[in-house]
């Protein structure tokens, strides 16, 4: 019932206060193949991934965290 997401401004809050932004991915790519991967492919690791969360019900800013997708536990902010 409670995955806590650490917001740098507001502190740890329940994930229900956030919008999930998915895996962190680069904004640009050097060539068409990298661009395709950037837009369409995801790592989807069973392990720790870097991801984006938007504190929709709080400060309304983005934060980047590392989450263990197997234990469903946030390891820390980035």
């Amino acid at each position: 019932m409670s995955l806590l997401v650490p917001c740098p401004t507001c502190g740890e809050r329940s994930y229900t206060e956030f919008t999930f932004g998915g895996e962190l991915r680069p904004l640009d790519a050097p060539d068409p193949e990298a661009e395709f991967a950037r837009v369409y492919l995801r790592g989807n690791v069973a392990g720790v991934q870097t991801e984006r969360w938007f504190h929709a019900l709080g400060c309304r800013r983005w934060t980047t965290v590392r989450r263990d997708t197997v234990a469903n536990r946030i390891e820390g902010g980035v």
Binding site: C10, S14, E17, L57, G58, C59, R60, R61
Partner: protein, 151 residues
């Protein structure tokens, strides 16, 4: 039983760099300073003092940097006072946030919308975006058992 009543407050928002906001001296006139985000501070004040507060904030931040934005955005917010001995317990029916003691504040999920909760000597002030005004009032009355006192 706690009491609920609408209150008229203005909110002066200041958008500037984190550095400028760190150094910004808060205005007087009884305004409550809320650092909502690294690049956003809000000053909650009574309607009579709002123009003065806005001027003071604008002058002070202009001395720190050029392109800060200072606005009275009070129209965008609805404010409610929840008062009485049980005010903080009443909040528990609509929010998991720890109710702030007098002088402190917190922002987060209240009745499933984003709100700011200010601790007062006699209870709490809850600010929500104006379009959720009716939603908050209805939820508080339904779940927190608050009595509404018409302003």
């Amino acid at each position: 039983m706690p009491e609920l009543r609408r209150t008229d407050l203005r909110v002066v928002t200041c958008l500037a760099s984190a550095d400028a906001l760190d150094r910004l001296v808060a205005p007087g006139h009884g305004a409550r300073a809320l650092r909502l985000a690294p690049d956003e501070s809000a000053f909650v004040t009574a309607p009579e003092t709002a123009p003065e507060v806005r001027r003071e904030v604008a002058d002070r931040v202009a001395a720190l940097e050029d392109d800060a934005v200072v606005r009275d955005v009070g129209d965008g917010w609805a404010a409610w006072r929840l008062t009485g001995a049980d005010a903080r317990d009443a909040l528990a029916w609509v929010s998991a946030l720890p109710p702030p003691p007098p002088g402190a504040w917190i922002q987060g999920d209240v009745a499933r919308v984003g709100a700011k909760v200010l601790g007062e000597d006699d209870g709490l002030t809850i600010l929500v975006p104006a379009y959720w005004d009716d939603h908050l009032r209805t939820r508080l009355i339904a779940d927190a058992g608050a009595i509404e006192v018409t302003p």
